[in-house]
């Protein structure tokens, strides 16, 4: 215990992860009725966590080897499950991201959620999420990671279904929970197989063993594929991607925090966490690459056909997650993690901006927001445009750097199809982002019908802001901080890369390079590098220009090319019929197949058996009760007869 307080690093790690839990418990038990106090407890806890995370980042950023603390937790025969903290560059980076986004979102929520009857409950769940996510991030073993992984899923369920009186919200919560659980079955099976075959689930040991080829390749591939099931569920990869757009039923800050910036990135994080392990299995990597590509392309097309502000960003989240998976699976450890980092920033920014519009205009339809004069909210509009530029990958914004890094990795693949798919994805991303932006900037046929290039005058916007006072600034300040981060973060590429893959952790990187069969994209400035750079930028600009032609310019019809292809628009809008397929699959294979068999077994055999035993007992009791005549003397006679028999027996 003394050592605990003497080691500031351990103390900081413990504080960062346990304070949100304490705040959740306090809010749920004591302060539910005091909304202001609940919010300040929760924000105080997450602020401390953020400070601890920053302290850890600063103290340990030059430490060579990962710092690991382990305490025995479960001991069963030869199986030892430790509990503790693993602090290495990856987990420190992710810890800081999670703490920072949680902090900003909680501050933002003070304004967004004000007046909501479930205010305290909201903050309790936010704390639960922060606790689970941060503990997951610094788990040293897969078991601990899995436990908090599930807790994160629980927090997500509770927050999606936050407006549980609303039918669609509670349905969406259930859908998210069940679909991610489907993937987690694979994850858990993979862990069990690995535990049986390899006997250790410590992340560092797994990675070392996979690099040293100490695990048999079949076992490695099988468990890697099964564990990838967890990534598919949590990070909404094909075919388990339809829960994420539905998850937008939750409050907008929740969408920003969980369903774009941090929680859905948990799958990608886990993938990069055991990246050397995956690198040991080329088959699993190819599979992941294919799934990431399919996900990215499908969800990009879906985003082109929806008019719901939050759903566009939701689909784009899915597609960017697919992009990250592609990068990792192509061997680009740094590119994947870097894109995860920048995406967390600009996607949180986009969602929080959307939240301001939704809060202001009470609608999710961006055409409607545009018509009502959404561009008069100058600060959110500018921030949203910055976010969209970053998402599309336009120069000084963070998305440009990370996207270019990802495409660079894809270009190293021997098969060109991955790079082409990536470029196509970049084109579609730019198109649908600016479709939305142009709809909001240059509305047609509404009150604000005139289409000017520079939006509204600042004076008018200033008036709007004054009108909303503290609540508006509560939401606008986090947004501006995020926008600033989005502008700056891209330039930190080389220090970040040095931090993540420099020095000690190079093992993972070199291995990835071997897996990719070529040199890393990081050495750069080769002809291929320039080609990728030019094509990526031209794709992004091309997408924006395309959107400008259809939605932006004065004479634009704002209909989009999809209007001429109703069949395809229908296909995109209905999410490639994935939901219908899953529903049909559920109805035929599960409900009328397996479930009905189980139901029959339950009703006939289990219930029937128990009922039969009961009925037999009752009937035989009835039968025997006829012996009870109630006559004293018959009883006596039987008694005497019995004694006589005993006597006879002894006499014989």
């Amino acid at each position: 215990m003394i050592a605990f307080f003497k080691d500031p690093v351990l103390l900081a790690a413990a504080l960062a992860t346990s304070l949100p839990f304490l705040s959740m418990a306090t809010i749920l038990i004591f302060t539910r009725h005091n909304q202001r106090l609940s919010a300040s407890i929760s924000i105080g806890a997450v602020t401390t966590s953020l400070l601890c995370a920053l302290y850890l980042l600063v103290t340990l950023h030059s430490a060579g080897a990962p710092v690991q603390y382990e305490f025995p937790w479960l001991l069963a025969d030869q199986l030892l499950i430790p509990f503790g903290y693993l602090l290495d560059p990856l987990s420190l980076l992710m810890l800081t991201i999670v703490a920072a986004v949680s902090f900003l979102v909680q501050v933002y929520s003070v304004g967004y959620m004000s007046g909501d009857p479930g205010y305290s409950r909201y903050y309790a769940f936010q704390s639960l999420f922060a606790w689970a996510m941060m503990s997951m991030v610094i788990s040293p073993s897969m078991i601990q990671l899995f436990i908090f992984w599930e807790l994160v899923g629980l927090a997500s369920y509770l927050l999606i279904g936050f407006y549980y009186e609303k039918w669609s919200a509670s349905q969406a919560g259930k859908k998210a929970f069940v679909m991610t659980r489907l993937g987690d079955i694979g994850f858990f099976l993979g862990l069990i197989i690995l535990l049986l075959g390899f006997g250790n689930l410590s992340i560092l040991k797994m990675n070392e063993a996979a690099q040293a080829h100490a695990i048999s390749p079949h076992l490695l591939t099988l468990s890697a594929l099964l564990i990838f099931g967890g990534v598919m569920g949590k990070s909404a990869q094909f075919p388990l991607l339809t829960w994420l757009p539905d998850a937008m039923e939750g409050p907008t800050p929740v969408s920003a925090l969980l369903h774009s910036a941090t929680m859905v990135a948990a799958g990608v994080y886990m993938f990069s966490r055991i990246f050397p392990f995956y690198s040991g299995s080329p088959e699993a990597m190819t599979m992941a690459l294919a799934i990431g590509t399919i996900t990215m392309l499908l969800s990009s097309t879906m985003a082109m056909a929806t008019y719901d502000l939050k759903q566009v960003w939701a689909y784009s989240t899915v597609s960017q997650l697919g992009f990250m998976v592609m990068a990792l699976a192509a061997g680009g450890y740094f590119a994947g993690v870097f894109h995860l980092t920048t995406h967390a920033g600009f996607k949180a920014l986009l969602f929080l901006c959307s939240g301001i519009f939704i809060h202001e205009y009470h609608t999710n339809d961006f055409r409607e927001i545009g018509r009502q004069g959404g561009r008069n909210l100058v600060i959110p509009m500018i921030c949203m445009t910055i976010g969209a530029l970053a998402l599309s990958g336009i120069f000084p914004f963070s998305g440009f750097f990370s996207k270019e890094a990802v495409l660079g990795v894809l270009a190293m693949q021997p098969n060109r199809i991955w790079l082409l798919a990536g470029l196509l994805g970049a084109l579609m991303t730019a198109y649908y982002s600016f479709r939305l932006i142009f709809f909001m900037l240059f509305p047609k046929g509404g009150i604000e019908a005139h289409g000017g290039r520079n939006g509204a005058s600042p004076g008018h916007g200033g008036h709007e802001e004054e009108h909303h006072g503290a609540i508006f600034w509560c939401m606008a300040v986090p947004v501006m901080i995020l926008a600033a981060i989005t502008v700056v973060l891209g330039f930190s590429q080389s220090p970040l890369e040095h931090f993540l893959v420099g020095k000690a952790a190079t093992g993972a990187h070199t291995l990835a390079v071997e897996g990719g069969g070529s040199h890393a994209a990081t050495e750069g400035h080769s002809p291929v590098h320039y080609m990728v750079l030019i094509s990526a930028v031209s794709m992004a600009v091309g997408g924006i220009a395309w959107a400008w032609l259809e939605f932006g310019r004065k004479k634009a019809t704002q209909e989009g090319f999809l209007r001429w292809l109703p069949k395809i628009e229908q296909l995109f809008a209905r999410r490639w019929y994935l939901d219908d397929f899953l529903r049909k699959f559920l109805d035929t294979a599960i409900y009328s197949g397996v479930t009905s068999l189980f139901t029959r077994n339950d009703r006939r055999i289990i219930d029937g058996g128990i009922d039969g035993i009961c009925q037999f007992t009752v009937a035989s009791g009835r039968l025997f009760s006829f012996l009870q005549s109630g006559m004293l003397q018959y009883n006596l006679l039987v008694m005497i007869g019995a004694v006589a028999l005993v006597v006879l027996y002894f006499l014989m």
Binding site: F624, S625, F626, L627, Q628, S629, G630, M631, L632, Q633, L636, L637, I640
Partner: protein, 102 residues
Amino acid sequence: MNSLGTYLVIAAALFSLGLLGVLQRRNLIGMLIAVELMLNGANINFMAFNRFLAPEPAVGQIITLFVMGLAAAEAAIGLSIILVLFRRVHSINVERAQQLKG
């Protein structure tokens, strides 16, 4: 008249009569009297064995005295049970007390 067998036969007859009475009489007081007969049959056995076989003459007599005391107590309890039953069913016929019939 002086052999053990004679006493045993008499005792057995008395016991059997008592048994028959307990099983056959429907009157509760009659049953109680029959139980007394059975006890007395047993008493005669004790006395007879004491007289003819036992080295220590006092033991059988003491047991017999005990049994007589026991019989008195049993009669007291039995009669009080019969009284309570009479208050309930207004009869001392054992056929009227059939509430425990299944």
